[in-house]
């Protein structure tokens, strides 16, 4: 019994060690995507353009965010 628990714990540890870096990388990649998206959004807000053009620029930012998030 004790051996089984030990094996289970060891398996969990190994899986955790394998999965954690992937999760951390995914999270940091998502943070990067959102940072870029916020920069893109700020550039749109600062542009001296009308609202329709600004809305188009913001839509482009959203599409770029979607693409970035998929590149994990």
């Amino acid at each position: 019994m004790r051996q089984k628990v030990g094996v289970a714990l060891l398996t969990l540890l190994v899986v955790g060690l394998l999965v954690m870096p992937v999760l951390v990388a995914a999270q940091s990649h998502a943070d990067y995507c959102y940072d870029e998206w916020e920069r893109c959004r700020e550039r749109a807000f600062e542009a001296d353009v009308g609202w329709i053009k600004m809305t188009l620029m913001l839509t482009t930012c959203d599409i770029a965010l979607g693409k970035c998030l998929l590149k994990v």
Binding site: Y34, A44, W51, L56, T59, D62, G66, L69, V72
Partner: protein
């Protein structure tokens, strides 16, 4: 992830506004005043800016925040350049990406979104400290000596997120207010939440650019104390927006930008631009803090940014050039000391 992308794309396509402009102005009875431009001998290049994002008047000086040059350009009220504050960099007194500023009793507070910081300067340009805010801010207001108010727009998909944050001068978070949820589309979020932060009657005024509510006033404890609805004769423009979940509906554009001076609100009325887009007009509606329209001021150009001091108006035009106007015929109260 695929689902997320699909949704983002579909929302992106949905955003586009079927721009049917319906002029809503029925404002014939309200007095309209004209302005004349004040031309100064200072060279035009002194008044050309790269990407000016905010104008503020304090005492006898005009401060213009330029996000691309990463500096505040300081002018006399005649439009003569005097000196600059700040420069590009990440050190004390430097800016990564300044997006808004607010001045209180000679101290300039600047929101540096890239640095996630609020930075302070004395009016002569010396650095007077900073604090971290932990998010990318959108607008900044110095409410009083001790309190700085910041707003942020929700991230795509963010639900029930605070929109306003009160900090003390040292950066301690004091309060949060106005919870909002993203529609899932940045363009529609702009229509829902696009605003200016101003100081009106000692209160924080969130001045919305679109919608049924023109402004919300909050006290120093972030409690909502009143709101303004547009008057029936407010010169708004109606256009159609496709909301991701609710479908297509008409939205009222209320103001392109705003300025406060004394007990009055100056709203740049929306108009149709030369390229057919919906943007600023040359008409400014002057309202009381209760929302009644006192008068209109007609400028000979589209007003992209505006600051007011007495009978003097500081305008950024389409080419990011600073222009100075005064009421024609000597009307008005004279150049005032300080901006409300």
């Amino acid at each position: 992830m695929k689902k997320a992308k699909k949704k983002t794309l579909s929302c992106g396509l949905l955003v586009l506004i079927g721009s049917s402009f319906l002029a809503g102005a029925k404002a014939d009875q309200i007095k309209t005043v004209a302005v004349s431009e004040i031309r100064y001998p200072s060279p035009a290049e002194e008044r050309m800016l790269a990407r000016p994002v905010d104008l503020e008047v304090e005492g006898t000086r005009l401060f213009v925040l330029d996000s691309q040059e990463r500096k505040i350009k300081v002018y006399s009220l005649e439009g003569k350049w005097l000196y600059d504050i700040g420069r590009y960099g990440s050190g004390p007194g430097e800016f990564m990406h300044p997006v808004d500023m607010s001045i209180h009793r000679g101290e300039v507070a600047v929101l540096d979104s890239e640095a996630y910081q609020v930075k302070f300067f004395s009016a002569d340009g010396s650095f007077a400290g900073s604090f971290q805010i932990g998010f990318r801010g959108y607008r900044l207001l110095r409410l009083n000596e001790e309190t700085v108010v910041l707003s942020r727009l929700p991230r795509v998909k963010e639900k029930n997120a605070s929109f306003l944050f009160y900090f003390d001068r040292k950066g301690k978070r004091l309060a949060e207010a106005l919870k909002v949820s993203s529609t899932g589309n940045s363009g529609v979020d702009l229509v829902q939440f696009g605003h200016d932060l101003r100081l009106g009657g000692g209160k924080v005024a969130v001045v919305y650019k679109f919608g049924q509510e023109m402004a919300v006033f909050l006290d120093e404890k972030a409690h909502r104390v009143s709101s303004l609805k547009p008057a029936a004769n407010h010169p708004s423009l109606s256009f159609r927006v496709n909301f991701p979940k609710q479908g297509s509906r008409d939205v009222q554009a209320l103001a392109f930008t705003s300025a406060f001076f004394g007990e009055e609100i100056y709203l740049v009325c929306p108009g149709k631009m030369a390229d057919g887009d919906l943007g600023p007009s040359g008409r400014v509606a002057v309202l009381s803090l209760k929302g009644e329209i006192h008068r209109f001021i007609d400028f000979p150009l589209a007003v992209f940014k505006l600051a007011v001091s007495g009978d003097r108006f500081f305008v950024l035009d389409e080419e990011a050039q600073l222009r100075v106007f005064a009421l024609a015929g000597g009307q008005g109260a004279g150049v005032g000391e300080g901006r409300q």
